[in-house]
């Protein structure tokens, strides 16, 4: 239902996304992981047609078979909420603080689905209930600040689901939440996607959250997808050195070993302008081939649905 190929987003001369391709079918759940600034949100915004006006988009983008790469905002508006919907990172600020949350959720119902007041209200309560909000009738009359973080995030999800979109993009929906609340939200997303046959893009840098939410995962670094594949395989046997570093740097939960130094990826994520031209990970990588800095590794398919972009794949046959 969404097909993107060779997506490049430029701010001036810097590319925030470089040659990103992706395809999503109904019911498919895709995770996007990567460090801050790796372009995860930018990708989400691209799929919503909501890039900042200073950004320049290249590449092919089809939604429902419609070419959207050069579409005007008006055209996108007819897709938003109805075909693609997005849940943003900060539940604390993503809701209009002056409106009762019920009204917020009702707005797209009345505007897009043209439901009358009663029907919209009915539907809104159902949505709140569906997203696991207790006492929906009471909560609908409250203001965002009167809800907890988890409840707000659920309202946002209900809002995004209001017009029954075919694709839901969730941009770090758990980052601002407590661990246990985050756990509930990811469970909810999985359930909704499965029940509704809805495609889900789940953006996060929390590997644990991604692991329990999606089927496939794409690892991003410096605006590029460096590795992708079924989540279990990627986590079990990461192929790209960046993915490996990322996984290793996570303190293990169950090791009985106290005060063990963690293996680290040396250096810091470079600023967008300082990214190397060739492999974006060059300079921080433990392998250093001459061509790394100069030429960009292309995505190499490793197995069906599994690929990585590296000049030094240890075992291309996996």
């Amino acid at each position: 239902m969404i097909r993107a190929s060779g997506i490049t987003v430029r701010f001036g001369s810097h590319a925030a996304l470089r040659d990103v391709s992706l395809q999503l079918d109904p019911g498919q759940r895709l995770g996007i992981v990567g460090e801050s600034g790796s372009g995860k949100s930018m990708l989400g915004l691209t799929l919503m047609g909501m890039l900042p006006s200073s950004a320049k988009l290249d590449g092919q983008l089809h939604v429902d078979g419609q070419d959207m790469s050069t579409a005007a905002d008006r055209q996108w508006r007819s897709l938003r909420a109805r075909r693609v919907a997005m849940v943003f990172q900060e539940p604390a600020s993503a809701l209009n603080p002056l409106r009762r949350v019920g009204d917020t959720v009702m707005e797209p119902l009345r505007l897009h689905l043209r439901l009358d007041r009663k029907a919209a209200q009915q539907r809104m309560l159902e949505l709140l209930d569906e997203t696991g909000i207790q006492e929906p009738a009471l909560k609908a009359r409250q203001y965002p600040h009167e809800l907890s973080g988890g409840q707000r995030q659920r309202v946002l999800i209900a809002l995004a689901l209001a017009c029954d979109p075919a694709l839901l993009i969730a941009d770090e929906p758990t980052t601002a939440l407590d661990a246990h609340v985050g756990l509930r939200i990811t469970e909810l997303l999985v359930r909704l996607a499965r029940d509704r046959g809805m495609a889900l893009v789940f953006i996060s840098h929390d590997l644990a959250a991604v692991a329990r939410t999606v089927d496939d995962v794409a690892v991003m670094y410096g605006g590029e997808v460096v590795e992708r594949g079924p989540v279990a395989e990627v986590l079990r046997a990461p192929q790209h050195p960046y993915t490996q570093g990322l996984l290793a740097a996570r303190p293990p939960l169950d090791a009985g070993q106290l005060r063990r130094r963690l293996p680290v990826v040396p250096g810091n994520v470079p600023a967008m302008a300082d990214l190397p031209l060739g492999c974006r990970f060059a300079g921080r990588c433990h392998v250093e081939l001459p061509r790394c800095a100069a030429t960009r590794p292309s995505e190499t398919s490793l197995s069906p649905g599994r690929s990585a972009a590296c000049h030094h794949l240890p075992d291309p046959s996996i």
């Binding site: 407590d178 661990a179 329990r212």
Partner: protein
């Protein structure tokens, strides 16, 4: 010898605003009767959901505010009974690292100035050599002292904040969510740095976090808070391997990396 830090039954309440004339609302109990003992060189982890009182505890230990009940003994002295000027002297011995590496450095001061501040506060003039040495100790170069916070990345900023905290060679370091805002790879670097420093100076650490994985790697003791109350307390390893409450169990669950293990059957789609 008495413990370095001895928190005895502290309670902290915040009054809620009055809504009606003759009705005084119940105060909010941010921290209820918490106690802990921390010795030199050890790390005490404090975990709990948002609003559970973790920061409140840290602020009490730092003397930013006083408990309504109970005492905080630091090296045997009741911190909150010390006169203002003595307390300021004592601050050299306990320092803090904050959650937000962006907010904890004055954007208008070169970072070297900020790092020298704890010395300047007691009237000493920080020697450039001393600052340079501290910078190198946290993995930065001495020339970075001249630069401004916005010129650094988050991880580097947190290193600078740590440099400021250790320049007086304190005995206790309070870290309030010091790694929560950092990316996974940077977080590992900072955790390693803290461990190195602990080994070197025999630092004791009060480590506030909500990430049990971090605790597992770092802490000797653990205090689990919820709504200001102590849920569980004791040796970290024991609690992690054998949690006594549902609450702790759930926190552990959330931190585990198990691909779609318990909910979704592995499904391969291309």
């Amino acid at each position: 010898m008495s413990a370095l830090l001895d928190i005895q039954n502290v309670t902290r309440r915040y009054p809620r605003p009055r809504q009606r004339l003759l009705h005084r609302p119940e105060p909010l109990v941010a921290l209820d009767n918490a106690s802990l003992t921390l010795n030199a060189g050890e790390t005490y982890g404090i975990v709990g959901e948002s609003g559970s009182g973790k920061t409140t505890l840290a602020r009490l230990v730092m003397g930013f505010e006083a408990p309504d009940n109970g005492r905080v003994l630091l090296g045997g002295e009741d911190l909150h009974a010390l006169p203002e000027h003595i307390l300021r002297q004592r601050r050299q011995t306990f320092q803090m690292v904050f959650q937000d590496p962006f907010g904890s450095l004055d954007p208008r001061r070169p970072v070297g100035w900020s790092v020298g501040q704890p010395l300047r506060a007691t009237g000493q003039q920080p020697a450039p050599a001393q600052i340079a040495q501290t910078f190198e100790r946290v993995g930065l170069s001495a020339s970075d002292a001249e630069r401004y916070p916005h010129e650094f990345s988050g991880g580097q900023r947190q290193r600078i904040a740590i440099a400021r905290a250790i320049i007086t060679k304190p005995r206790l370091l309070v870290a309030d969510e010091a790694v929560s805002a950092l990316d996974v790879s940077v977080r590992a670097q900072i955790l390693n740095l803290l461990l190195d420093l602990q080994d070197e100076f025999g630092l004791a650490m009060l480590f506030v976090t909500h990430d049990l994985a971090v605790v597992a790697n770092l802490c000797d003791h653990l205090l689990v808070l919820r709504n200001g109350r102590t849920v569980e307390q004791g040796p970290a390893q024991a609690i992690l391997t054998n949690p006594q409450t549902d609450y702790t169990t759930m926190l552990l669950d959330a931190a585990r990396v198990t691909p779609a293990g318990h909910s979704a059957p592995a499904r391969t789609t291309t």
